[in-house]
């Protein structure tokens, strides 16, 4: 589905060389990396929106061409930014249907017909006529997922779902949304800096550290010291969290 072949690129904070990565059709995977590891740039490279200096990015087996030569790329790959950035002057429904009204000239009625079941599925129907300032951040985040779902893309790229905090309710809603995409055969790739989120998802996990990528199960044997160090760090963190949690629960039992 999405394949990066020996890609080199430069983002604000990082220079990445000879990066290779592969995501199959219909697969859901997570990219886990420390904060500020240029995850957004990685996702943008995957969708051909970030310039690369070497290598090639393939989508559906063909070379991912630059914008303009494939007029329908916006329907095939959806990107969701870490900021729940909806347009303030459009309602939730209009925001969700914006690509259809802009690119295809759909009317509000056509958009409503298409979007209604998706908004219902994602628990947004009651806020469909509200503006972004009238809804919460959680609903704004889910609206972005609903916008992607309306387009029925082949791949969904989500940059840091945990940005701005992830309470159990929104976590379950995002999980539900991912299942919706999986059922529709959409490949989902998301990035996070939260090991607990990556662990909770129970899906293939890749580590992305300082421009190096490795599958988590093979990370301890990785030839790259950055990856091995990061694994050791998150393992240590997990141990500390687990100890802290057990102390907390011991106290509760004592009470």
């Amino acid at each position: 589905m999405i394949e990066l072949k020996s890609v080199s690129y430069r983002s604000d904070s990082l220079e990445v060389n000879n990066l290779s990565f592969h995501l199959n059709a219909g697969e859901t995977a997570v990219i886990l990396g420390p904060n500020k590891s240029a995850n957004s740039a990685f996702l943008k490279v995957c969708m051909g929106a970030h310039p690369i200096s070497k290598g090639e990015v393939l989508f559906d087996g063909g070379a991912l061409v630059k914008y303009g030569s494939d007029a329908d790329m916006w329907r095939k790959i959806c990107f969701i930014s870490h900021e729940p950035a909806l347009l303030d002057n459009l309602t939730v429904m209009q925001n969700a249907g914006l690509p259809l009204s802009y690119h295809l000239g759909w009317s509000e009625e056509q958009i409503f017909e298409k979007a209604e079941p998706v908004l219902k599925e994602f628990g947004l129907l009651h806020v469909a006529r509200d503006f972004p300032s009238q809804i919460g951040k959680d609903d704004a985040k889910i609206t972005q997922l609903a916008r992607a779902a309306i387009l029925e893309p082949k791949a969904l790229l989500f940059d840091e779902p945990a940005a701005g905090g992830l309470n159990p309710e929104i976590f379950l809603r995002i999980l539900g949304a991912f299942k919706y995409f999986q059922a529709g055969g959409t490949a989902v790739l998301f990035t996070t800096s939260s090991p607990s989120l990556a662990a909770a998802m129970k899906i293939p996990c890749y580590l992305f550290v300082e421009g190096r990528v490795a599958e988590i199960m093979e990370a301890h044997e990785s030839p790259f010291p950055e990856i091995r160090d990061y694994v050791a760090r998150i393992r240590n963190q997990a141990k500390q969290q687990s100890m802290a949690a057990s102390t907390f629960f011991d106290r509760i039992s004592a009470v």
Binding site: K44, M47, G48, A49, H50, P51, K66, Y67, G68, A71, M73, W74, C78, F79, I80, S81, E83, A85, L86, L87, D88, L98, P99, S101, Y102, H103, L104, G105, Q144, R147
Partner: protein, 285 residues
Amino acid sequence: MKSAEAKSHAEKLPRLTATVSRSNPIDKLLIGILSLFRFYINLLQVFTQFFFGLIRLRSHEFRYTMETVVHQIIFSGIDAFYVVGAIAAMVGGVVMVQLIAFSTMFESEAILMQILVSIIIRELAPLLTSLILIARSGSAIAIELGVMQLKHQDDTLDGMEIDMIQFFHVPRVIGLTFSNMILVGYFVIITLGSALAISLFREGIYMGPMLANFIDALKLSDILVCIIKAGILGMVIALVCIYHGSQVKNSTTEIPQQTSQALVNSYLLCYKFTVAISVVAYLVQ
């Protein structure tokens, strides 16, 4: 994605101040002179982006853009009717009172009318409507774009392959260009109406001959200069405000700073363009 391309193009642009030392006084002077031009170069870049954004619009995108243009014209051109009307009525009255006061110096009413047409249609109308446009719509554009930048809404649009320039810049520039032409239309009609009404209070002046003198004084070139000025000034206001709005990067405090700079620079550029167009028009004639 389109804006990613635009950004990469922008990065390739030569940096004017990169090769000079800031400690050398001559270099400092050079930097100062270049920075004066940098604003105009950036403005030209915004115009170029607008132009290419416009010609790249596909059919459905064009329809969406035109809908936004209509909304922009309703806000900037139609909703401003009362403000423009009130100012136009006062300006017409004041100008006519002054002309009547000095009318003994003129040989005939035809000259009086010629002066009225020149002052109001050629000079005052496009300039004053531009000032109203800056205050009402220019500030709104700079703030709206600043907030969009701050909330990374350009990235969101990018993710949907919606070009920020086509989505936001193009309708604003077209909208303000036509809005200013519409405003000038109101302004001229109300100002001349008010001036003619005031002139009727003077003894021995009759509406019929006054209107005849007015029609004689009005030339096609006056109307053309007025329309061209209005269009260019409307476009300049939109470009300046878009430029300053897009300079907002990190903090909410940048929004009022950039907005005030947008307004001041719009005012200054409107005066400069008014003078330039007037000079060219008189030279051509």
